[in-house]
Symmetry: C2
Subunit: 416 residues, 2 copies
């Protein structure tokens, strides 16, 4: 049994799918998505549903000081720290039904399977629902897991305000989910998170499971080009100091730099704010933001140098002032080899086609990996589309992901 | 006298400058500019000042149905239609003290000089203050002169709404300047407008007077590129459909096309609206607006074809959808040779350095030219800066412009 602990345990894929569809009504949108911002009334509703489902399984539910929820089932070796499985139940304002939610509900399904079978794990197992992974209402993202990992203090997180000036602390009080438990500061045996890929790679290559190796390094930059507003009609081309031309050339340079570091590099100008942004004024100011990522910190160092050099060269050539700054960075995260091996074996044992993959998006697992062995399981999503009401996965994707989560959990637990 | 009618008449340059500074308090801003939107309370104040100043000269002031103001002094030959001189007293929200205002107040100064000298013109002379030249509050620009010239109906103009939903008609009623007189529909002998250049050419070439030949042809386009929103981290570079990259390449293409038709062509992407304009989303949509101008309609035809072809080629190459449309055009305007000659001779007789110039900006004179012989006089402004609180001219520029306006008026009148 310990060599192939999950051989006989199968999740109930239909039950998993039903919970996905059932909870999608909390914040459900006419277009089939979910709007369930952190600490909102809709978040309260889904948290209540989750708490009740866990209680029905006999799990003890704890809420910590920033609203992270843990539903615990004891193991048979009392000294072992728990293994966490889960993700987040909050969504983007125009989010889909699966981003985060799949990870929590597949963890619930795994737990239901264990309870129904009477299977005893070595370590305690806890389902976790992290607060405010999306960062849409309260920024930055991954706030609950960030506090858990010591990246932010509870006070910093609770004092964060939404656009109406409501703090996260007040919002959690309002829905009754500012708990008594200390945030973090306890040992974990490991952390496993199932998630949709949010990219097109698995679908494009027709792979069923992504064996996640880590989370790529990410950096954000602001590049503000300043020239001179001028009348479009009365100002000859020669002598213009057009900030939009600078920003346009910079956007193309950023794209080219990422392509030069293919295939793993990505870099994007996602935001371009032009001033005065008037049809008949040569733009005197343009702010471009850059999001650059690579699995390897050293390569991202090189990309950063190239991006900054491009900005400076363009500004100089066009007689523009340049304000260039790196405003955020997250180093590359490498997941735990033992847990990665458990996921790979679980996929193989089930006959699912798999590929190693690096997460392009940030996830709670990236923070938890600072504390404990962690990894993730990816399943494909249609067209790679996410953060969109049209986000969709197939029934089979949920089934495969849930089964791999359970099997990897049990294999890891058996090795403790 | 008729051969050199203005030889002995000199405007009072100090008096002209004083009126510029005195009226600048109506809507004056801390930074030394003016915010005097059409049909606003500040517009009411300057209109009142203007009406009073004209009344003190014995002129009869008429207000037409869209608020255009005409202050008339009769001539000695009753059958002749009037010569109009003037411009507009409204400003941009962060406008300067001279755009439009100089033309009206120099016309007032010319009239004061005629009255003081007892000089009788052949034709009646009317100072005009056109309503809503700027188009900032009520769009499009040059509305009062547009109705006067039959380009818009009075009903269209009066029904135009500002951002708060107030119609121009209601706003004019509110300040007491919806007049009784019919708009347009009457003969004019000619129209002369003094204006700041709003471009850098005269200053750069150290010329004191611009002898305006016409207004260049102008066209506006919208180019909307549509791709697919995608996660910046999870979406490989290959296969992206990044609308911002399309718009950036388009902005550079528009710039290049104008440079290929140097030195008279100008073309500008002034507005770029990116969606969702989020740091970590590959932009799925980008709307670029183009303002393209050339003194010659045929060259602008060629530029238009090149601009549209560039947009289509870029969209095709990047797998973007394209929605391209010309949304506005104004044909090239050629001013009246006789009036142009009067301006050129007036500059020469005064010993002012002059150059022929085509207006890059639109002006009320472009519409009035559809009805009657028209032209303009330009004076330099510092750095070519306009539509900006920092807009400035020298005392001598106002003095020279006012003198040329008076002399050209008298020369033209003498030839009637």
């Amino acid at each position: 049994m310990t060599l192939d602990p999950g051989r006989n345990l199968r999740i109930d894929a239909a039950r998993l799918w039903d919970t996905l569809m059932e909870t999608a009504r909390f914040g459900g949108t006419p277009k089939g998505g979910i709007c369930r911002l952190a600490a909102s009334e809709e978040d309260r509703q889904v948290r209540g549903w989750f708490r009740e489902a866990c209680g029905a399984l006999g799990l003890s539910v704890t809420v910590d000081g920033v609203g992270n929820m843990f539903a615990r089932r004891e193991g048979r070796r009392p000294g072992l720290p728990p293994i966490l499985i889960g993700s987040h139940l909050d969504t983007q304002p125009t989010g889909g039904k699966f981003d985060g939610v799949l990870g929590v509900l597949a963890a619930l399904e795994a737990m239901r399977t264990l309870v129904a079978a009477g299977y005893e794990t070595n370590a305690p197992v806890e389902i976790v629902n992290w607060t405010d992974e999306e960062g849409s209402r309260f920024s930055p993202a991954m706030m609950g897991s960030g506090v858990f990992a010591g990246v932010f203090t509870p006070e910093e997180a609770l004092g964060t305000k939404d656009r109406e000036g409501v703090t996260l602390g007040a919002a959690l009080d309002g829905i009754g989910y500012r708990g008594q438990a200390a945030v973090g500061g306890r040992a974990l045996s490991g952390y496993l998170e199932l998630h949709i890929e949010q990219g097109p790679i698995l679908e494009r290559e027709e792979r069923e499971i992504g064996v996640v190796q880590g989370v790529q390094a990410m950096r954000w930059y602001d590049a503000r080009f300043t020239g001179l507003d001028a009348h479009t009609g009365a100002t000859p081309m020669a002598g213009r100091r057009n900030a939009l031309i600078g920003a346009a050339r910079f956007a193309l340079a950023v794209d080219a730099i990422a392509n030069e570091h293919a295939p793993d590099a990505v870099a994007t100008v996602g935001t371009l704010d032009v001033r005065p942004n008037s049809r008949n004024v040569v733009p005197g100011e343009a702010l471009a933001t850059v999001d650059a990522r690579h699995p390897d910190d050293a390569t991202l160092d090189a990309m950063e140098a190239e991006i900054e050099a491009a900005a400076r060269a363009i500004a100089k050539e066009l007689s523009l002032a340049l304000d260039f700054a790196r405003i955020w960075l997250q180093p590359a995260v490498r997941f735990d080899p033992v847990l990665i091996g458990c996921v790979r074996e679980a996929a193989k044992a089930n006959g699912f086609s798999a590929r190693d993959i690096t997460s392009g998006a940030g996830h709670d697992a990236a923070y938890v990996a600072r504390l404990a062995p962690s990894t993730m399981v990816f399943v494909p999503c249609a067209g790679g589309v996410s953060h969109n009401e049209a986000e969709s996965i197939r029934f089979e994707d949920a089934a495969r992901g849930g089964q791999v989560l359970l099997d990897a959990l049990l294999a890891f637990d058996a090795g403790l």
